[in-house]
Symmetry: C2
Subunit: 134 residues, 2 copies
DNA sequence: TCGAATTTAAACACTTCTGCTTAACAGATT
DNA sequence: AATCTGTTAAGCAGAAGTGTTTAAATTCGA
């Protein structure tokens, strides 16, 4: 059974990178092209991000589904929706408007284009008023 | 780009499970066999474990490689090796013999069969004397 | 012990991932 | 201009993951 997401090749590259080597230097050491080192490093970072997202999901299991921010929605209208839904459930959202928008964008930058929601975002809330997105 | 490791199917099963449903009940809901629900749930838990291991690896990046516990080694001889190697590096291991063995086993149970190491285990140590295995 | 719940194994199509090459492109530094 | 660094894209072969079915084993409470 595989232990982690990272392949031996990916770990190798990350270790050399941590030591400050350039992609070209690493390419020479492991005998391949610098383009390939770039690809491998990128894949490694993606895998790490994916691992983080996976564990992030566990929080949504403890949380209740609050609402769905539908594709096309104006990002600035999201807080209003979220506050109103949370009030219905008798929970106070932990974040103010600005913080909420930032959290929303930071959580997964890919899902927003400027002020627009590109893809449906599910919003979860726990009893502490913490928000999670999935 | 995929966000997490878990497929929609796997998330679905985990959510129903969290609600206390049996595999048979879930199978009826998502219209498949209970055996399949079992497989999906198992895959989900494996993915979560893999995500944890992946992030665990990041610690080994900050840590230095201490030694390798080779396949076939007696688990009870590991502490001696580790203490002696750490001393060479001028770092004091944070754990006593008993705790060390327990950490070693708990870190990844699959790599030990009774008192024997089944598969090479890399040992890393940081400046605080914390140990990581990979 | 009976039956329900859970787990495991094997096999199958299908999809995705991985490492790799080649080639091109953008930014900095020299 | 020439060089070094990092990125990106297309394509390819081999490996691994996913959902599924079917069938057999195991656990466990009543």
């Amino acid at each position: 059974m595989k232990r982690g997401l990272l392949t031996d090749r990916q770990k190798e590259v990350l270790r050399y990178r941590k030591q400050g080597l350039t992609q070209q230097q690493i390419a020479d050491i492991i005998k391949t092209s610098k383009a390939n080192v770039c690809t491998i490093e990128k894949a490694a970072l993606e895998n790490i991000a994916r691992a983080r997202d996976t564990l992030e999901f566990l929080y949504t299991l403890d949380a209740a589904h609050l609402c769905t921010l539908k594709s096309g929605l104006d990002l600035l209208k999201a807080p209003e929706i979220i506050y109103s839904e949370a009030e219905k459930m008798g929970v106070k959202v932990k974040y103010d408007t600005i913080t909420l928008i930032n959290r929303l964008r930071d959580a997964n930058p890919d899902r927003f284009r400027g002020r627009q929601v590109r893809e449906d975002v599910e919003v979860y809330i726990n009893e502490d008023g913490d928000l999670y997105f999935g």
